[in-house]
Subunit: 378 residues, 2 copies
């Protein structure tokens, strides 16, 4: 690693007071983060399912290692071959690419990666099975495959049932491929606002998945892995008796959009705490009731809404442009160089615009974690 120069290629130095961190910066409340990691581990243990934590949220080898060492995770998920490469290079030994890999160049690399770690990939196309098999044969490895079924997300995945069985049979018969089970993630259910909506969506997903597992069984194919679930729905999949691997990611950090979903009592979810913040500085206050902070679109993604100012109800983030956030300050409380902590609207793509997580505890910087796979999009 090259020299780290705070404020140039890294936002802080270890031991620095929080007040001295360069902004905008992504900070992790280590106490909250560690509680979140333990809480999910505990749930998975009690439910008797494996946790395969999703590294797409954070893209960090340090966090992935913490999830495995202290968070009960059997391995990790990621979404891209280049992410898997970066995480395997950093010591992760069990990786599911919870996505299709179809580009011949990346298939070749995925097969090469099998020599270094357990690698599993999702499949939803018969032609892709041939390509994966050819690459795995070329490199003399066995590549594990999950058949992705669409259980309601409306994105990738074949239909549950007969289509899935046909594809699984093709995988099972293909040289150097192993059929390892089903990918049955219901992405669009995660952020449904009410408990009942999420419960009902996952009940349908569970029914489709159970039926597909049964059909596979009748065809002589066992599912070592039945994977899915996210932070919004993991309790339903976890208690379903059908899923055996949970793929939650956001639980380590949470975000403003997860803050809008409700539990069975109509209250905000309290299981996990906000652990990820954009630290920002007020850099203009030329109008009495409006401040401008230094965290705009290049410090976050606003696809799921604007960030929320943490711990204050007197000021509101109201508008986001490239390098600026407009803060309504009706009582004129803010001053130039005041700091605010923003809960990002959506944690995953927000992490992807930063190079570092700044871990903080008791007012000080305790660690700096690189966003290992930032920009690894291939």
């Amino acid at each position: 690693m090259t020299d780290l120069v705070p404020g140039f290629n890294v936002p802080a130095a270890i031991g620095m007071a929080i007040e001295d961190i360069y902004t905008p910066a992504l900070i992790v409340d280590l106490d909250a983060f560690e509680r979140n990691v333990r809480t999910m581990a505990e749930f998975a243990r009690k439910a008797g399912v494996r946790l395969r934590a999703h590294a797409k949220t954070h893209k960090s080898a340090d966090i992935a290692r913490a999830q495995i060492a202290h968070g009960g995770a059997c391995g990790i998920c990621c979404q891209k071959t280049s992410e898997a490469e970066a995480l395997v290079a950093a010591g992760i030994k069990d990786v599911l690419v919870s996505n299709e890999v179809t580009d011949p160049k990346m298939i070749d690399r995925l097969a090469r990666l099998c020599a270094k770690a357990r690698v599993i990939v999702c499949v939803d196309d018969a032609g892709n099975v041939d390509d994966l098999s050819a690459a795995a044969s070329r490199h003399g490895v066995t590549l594990e495959c999950l058949v992705e079924i669409d259980v309601g997300a409306g994105r990738c995945g074949v239909a549950p049932g007969a289509d899935a069985v046909r594809l699984a049979q093709k995988i099972a018969a293909a040289p150097n491929l192993a059929f390892s089970g089903l990918q049955a993630y219901h992405g669009s259910a995660q952020h449904l606002r009410t408990f009942a909506e999420r419960r009902d969506a996952i009940a349908k997903a569970v029914a489709m998945t159970r039926d597909t597992v049964a059909q596979l069984d009748m065809a002589g194919l066992q599912c070592a892995i039945v994977g899915g679930a996210g932070t919004g729905t993991y309790e339903f999949e976890g208690m379903s008796g059908v899923y055996n691997e949970l793929q939650c990611g956001s639980y380590v950090f949470m975000d403003a959009d997860y803050g809008r979903i409700r539990d069975a009592n109509g209250a905000p979810l309290s299981t996990f705490a906000n652990a990820l913040f954009i630290l920002t500085t007020v850099m203009s206050h030329a109008k009495p009731d409006m401040a401008v902070c230094d965290a705009g679109l290049k410090a976050q993604s606003v696809d799921s809404g604007l960030p929320v100012v943490f711990g204050r109800d007197d000021v509101t983030y109201t508008k986001c442009s490239d390098e600026h956030g407009v803060i309504a300050d009706p009582h004129g409380r803010l001053r130039i160089n005041d700091r605010l902590k923003l809960v990002p609207g959506h944690c995953d793509p927000t992490c992807n615009v930063h190079d570092w997580f700044v871990g903080v505890r008791n007012g000080r910087v305790e660690c700096l974690w690189p966003v290992t796979a930032r920009g690894r999009a291939f």
Copy 2:
């Protein structure tokens, strides 16, 4: 620079066919890009104003150098001190930070940078003047300052007129600072949809700016720079007789949101061509009328709307999640591994999630330009 490994830390190799570029990747149509650069140079020359091209769009030293060498630019703008540092380190000699710098650590660095290049900064606060002056004095440099006035954008900037004059006088009297003029950028006017809306918004901005210039003149303060304008409105500021520096950035690339604004005849702007695309690959097509491509939220910013599929009216990008784009394909035309070119919704924050621009011409990769100041947010 460390070794470049296509598909790992860089999406292509020079000489590669476009079909072989790793995706998602940011590609630049070099013919369109060069035409855009020349067209803006020609406008500024004819209008008799300087062009200070905005590097916030691209954050690339290569593009900044092209804008100066071939595009008539007298220098560049950027938004952050760390961007300015990165661009000065790459050889740019004349930089306006078109934004306020208030953090004491960054003020110190801004002052240091004055030893290496002409550096100008914007100011909208009296206390900030004292801090800038102290830093410039400490380093024995003269720091040029523009008073930022709010001409309608509703973000940073003091009120035009008396407030601006007071701040200018304070700058002029401060040790080691030079008052160099006004920053009068109307950001929110750039994307107003109709010609008349943009014309009227800038007419008001011009009137406020003209009045402020006159009041400053009566106070004995001359504006060497009266800067502002963007790609949506530059003709109005350029012909105003008041502004003398245009700060356009998006014109080099254009984007889908600029594609929605209309000219005087109600037609899309035709002055500049789309030169920036997200090259993406279809990686799933499990449903007859829907494909999924590999460019999602981590390959772009959707703050100004979804990307538009370039050159095709038979398929539409309809939904964006972290690593996926859903493509409506009602006629089932797409196949797995087909490539599409997406015009990003908003070019600036899209460039900020990529590490490289892949310059293409005649079907081949001609150059690779690093996004020099990517992630430089301080």
